[in-house]
Amino acid sequence: MSFEPKIVGILCNWCSYTGADLAGTSRTKYAPNIRVLRVMCSARVDPTFIFKALSEGADGVLICGCHPGDCHYVEGNYKAMRRFPLLKKMLADLGVEDQRVRLEWVSASEGQRFADVVNEMTEQVRKLGPSKIKPDLLADRRNRPAAAAAEVAHA
Amino acid sequence: MTRKISIDPITRLEGHGKIEIFLDDKGAVEETFFQIPELRGFERFCVGRPIEELPRIVTRICGVCPASHHMASAKAVDGCFGNEVAPVAHKLRDMYYNAHFIHSHIAHFYALAAPDFVCGPDSDPAMRNVLGVVAKVGLEIGGAVIASRAKAQNIQRLIGGASTQDIWCIPGGVAKGLSKEDLATISKWTDELYDFAQTSLKIFRDVVLANKTYVDIIVNGPYNLEVQNMGLVDENNAPNFYHGKVRVVDFKGKEICKYSPMEYMNHVAEHVEPWSYLKFPFLKQRGWKGFVEGIDSSIYMATPLSRLNVADRMATPKAQEAFEEMYKTVGGHPCKLLLASHWARLVEMVQNAETLQKYCKDPEITSDKFRVIPKQITGEGVGIVEAMRGTLTHHYTCDSNGICTSANLIVGTTNNMAPIHMVTKKIAKALIKPGTEPTQGILNMVEMGFRSFDPCFSCATHSLPGQMPLEIKIYKGGQPYREFKQYC
């Protein structure tokens, strides 16, 4: 049985969530590995969300927003556009592979595109294998003799 | 027969150390090892940081002498920017740094060193601390110690904005200048600090030199080493703590070498042993010969005593008087008696105060031209200053974007690791005799050896160990015999 990546999707309410809905109503098949969260705008996506998702076991994170110029709130997606390159740089410094976190513009009519992106990303992440972040952090907690002893004592 | 005995923790020393003493079958000391069990990694995690950030990162190597790292770092960064620095900035930095020396020397002398002499080397450990000192010399002096330390720190704050964890030096100079109002305040304090430096010398004369037992320990005890001396000097071969060339002189007074910072790698190398995280610097051109004394030894020490040993004179007049008095008393220049380092510290304090007085009278010191915008990144710099505990070297390289590509640090106390290791063995051999039980007092007398170096193992290991866990294991005939532990 091959590894099934857990991908967290953060989609903006106006364009990309509607686009994803369209994929659904059109019965377009796409990988079930994505778990979707809806936010009002891609500007709402705080880098903290990506870090939290990764630290809690997500193998990948997909952020979707409206195409530049089409943001329901006029300029929100530009904020996402500016944050993302810095976030990628930071993730690289922290040893997170490039393909695990992705930003895509998806319009309300791009149901097929959404499905294509999800399928492509799922395969890329599958090839990378499970993210080591959560297992690393758990191992950090348990790999010290004193810590292990304390856990045994409290068990 | 094995017994474990716990002893008082060492409180007048900074860092983590472990001493192993091996006894032969008769109970005489056969071998000792002074081990340092910690490391931090500044030399690695500074890589990748913008080079101008390093002066504010390396201060966290040590919270007792952050200014030393800040200055050495600033000078290494200066080098990376082609040494383009506003001249007034150098004066301000020197002034700030001399103020730092004063409060650090005050703290070391009164809190760390004095208890051994004022209370006595084998006195009750519970009182053998700064409170015991104050009890003996009086509350007025105790109050003056606190007040003087505060004045020197406040001088730093007025000049450079902070006194712990310095924030002030930048490429091209410093971030702020000195106002006339602040200068007036500093002038007054400076004169008071000069008086306090002279008072401290008087206390040393009255309490230590007037006591025959102490003088005997200083002159005739096992606290001496025939190794070479290192210190920073100006063009007159007088000590300069902020800027100059490094001079190395053997224990008979002959100059071995004198080098400018960029040449340090031709003269100093670091030897590694598997049993200590701390490296052992030595004179590179002589090669590593082991932990041996002698005129050909490649071991050197870098302490207040060695700074005065390599100097032909002091840089200021009253300090020169104190210098002459000291060497006349200890039997000549240079001097091998390690405990004289405590005296040397006080002589330095006089020069620190006189230097401050000189700057207070310098009309340029309140100039607003305290920084320039550097025009080029040249990519490499070596900054050498004297930390209170010895010659401190920071060597950086950076890329064309000013991002650090390497950092090499040889820190004050690191220079002294081999001498500390050697003198510990010497003292242990002299004091732990076959048939005697090593006691609390004897242990303290072993400590007095490394304490004279005012070691800072936080610095030396570029690590942040904090406490002074100390473990002493005594082995007899290869078997564990006795163990002293504190904080372990």
């Binding site: 880098p47 903290t48 870090f51 939290k52 630290s55 530009y78 556009m81 500016r82 810095l86 740089k89 930071m90 410094d93 922290l94 040893g95 950090d140 004193a146 | 716990s6 091996f22 090892f33 910690e38 490391l39 931090r40 990694g41 030399e43 690695r44 995690f45 890589v47 940081r49 950030e53 504010r56 990162i57 966290r60 919270g63 601390n129 330390r149 450079g160 904005g161 006194s163 924030i167 490429p171 702020k176 790698m265 670091e270 590694v272 042993e273 598997p274 049993w275 200590s276 490296k279 610097p281 915008i373 090499n408 936080s458 570029h462 942040l464 904090g466 406490q467 082995y475 504190q486 372990c488």
Partner: protein, 319 residues
């Protein structure tokens, strides 16, 4: 009224926090009147074995500064937790991991290689590295084993309060000791000795609108002393940093680097600073955005200068 029993202990520390307590000068003598300092390596004679002999919760208060790097640090953290009613994480290292936490960005092997094999002044031809156990002739020598990464105090034990700063400002130290002495304790887990706002609230520089076309390194411009540093393109972490330090750095024209940790309710200081910095970039063109970001090197080092272990990812996770 019985005297308070207190301990001040340092883990993987530089000593600056202990110096900050000493910097309260005469106040320390006041503390001496109301408290017995049972353990404080830098200034008092408390025996380690005394701590072991103490009853549980015999200490009213322990101030623990420094990060946790070795098994010894961990052992003392657990011991002091057991023996103390209140355990305070004192200073950036105990609170967030501190500057030592930057080591979490590099693999431990590289630290060793750089220190013992590759550095410029290492004895030519050296291949020796320190080992936990080694033999020199007939003598066996040991040194402690290190953890592969840095931990903050509450990764190891339950912490009652946090006092931020590198070091905590000495006025704040007085305030904290005063609060504890008064008995009117804040809610457990509070961050004390600071304000509950971002540093910008205390900073007297003029703040208008932030639109940045280029970032400047601190040496590239002489900033206007009256205007917000970030608005002038100098990266300052103040907006993602808790106040309470007296604005000591921006007051002399040096940008904040975040030593007081995140403002209230912020989980990841580095993520917040990233977000804030990106938001003020004045461009909508991807190429221009990249050019502007190129003037900002080492975002990770800026964002997590004092708190890598406290970020959600805590460290580098490279293969």
């Amino acid at each position: 009224m019985p005297k308070l029993q207190i301990a001040i202990y340092w883990g993987a520390a530089c000593g600056g926090c202990d110096v900050a307590v000493l910097d309260t000068n005469e106040f320390i003598l006041e503390v001496g009147k109301i408290a017995d300092i049972r353990l404080w390596p830098v200034a008092a004679d408390g025996k380690y074995s005394d701590v072991e002999k103490m009853k549980d919760k015999e200490l009213d208060l322990t101030l623990f500064d420094g990060a946790v790097r070795t098994s010894e640090n961990e052992h003392l953290a657990r011991l002091l937790r057991q023996k103390s009613k209140l355990l305070v994480a004192f200073g950036s290292c105990a609170h967030l991991g501190g500057i030592p936490g930057l080591a979490n960005l590099v693999p431990m092997q590289e630290i060793f290689e750089r220190a013992y094999l590759k550095n410029a002044s290492i004895e030519p031809g050296n291949t020796t590295v320190p080992k936990p156990e080694s033999m020199v002739g007939p003598y066996k020598l040991t040194i402690p084993k290190f953890y592969d990464r840095v931990y903050k105090l509450d990764d190891i034990v339950d912490v009652d309060y946090y006092v931020p700063g590198c070091p905590p400002h000495f006025d704040q130290v007085k305030a904290v000791l005063g609060v504890i002495a008064s008995g009117k304790l804040p809610a457990k887990g509070s961050v004390v000795g600071c304000t509950d706002r971002a540093l910008c609230d205390e900073c007297k520089r003029e703040k208008t609108e932030k639109r940045v076309k280029k970032f400047f390194r601190p040496w590239q411009i002489v900033p206007d002393p009256n205007k917000c540093l970030l608005e002038q393109g100098v990266l300052c972490a103040g907006s993602a940093t808790r106040g309470g330090c007296g604005v000591r750095c921006p007051n002399i024209g040096i940008p904040c680097r975040g030593c007081y940790g995140p403002p209230p309710n912020v989980v990841d200081q580095g993520a917040k600073l990233l977000s804030a910095v990106a938001s003020i970039i004045d461009s909508k063109e991807p190429k221009e955005i990249d050019q502007i970001l190129a003037t900002l090197p080492d975002i990770t080092g800026y964002a997590y200068r004092f708190g890598m272990p406290s970020g959600l990812l805590q460290r580098r996770h490279a293969p």
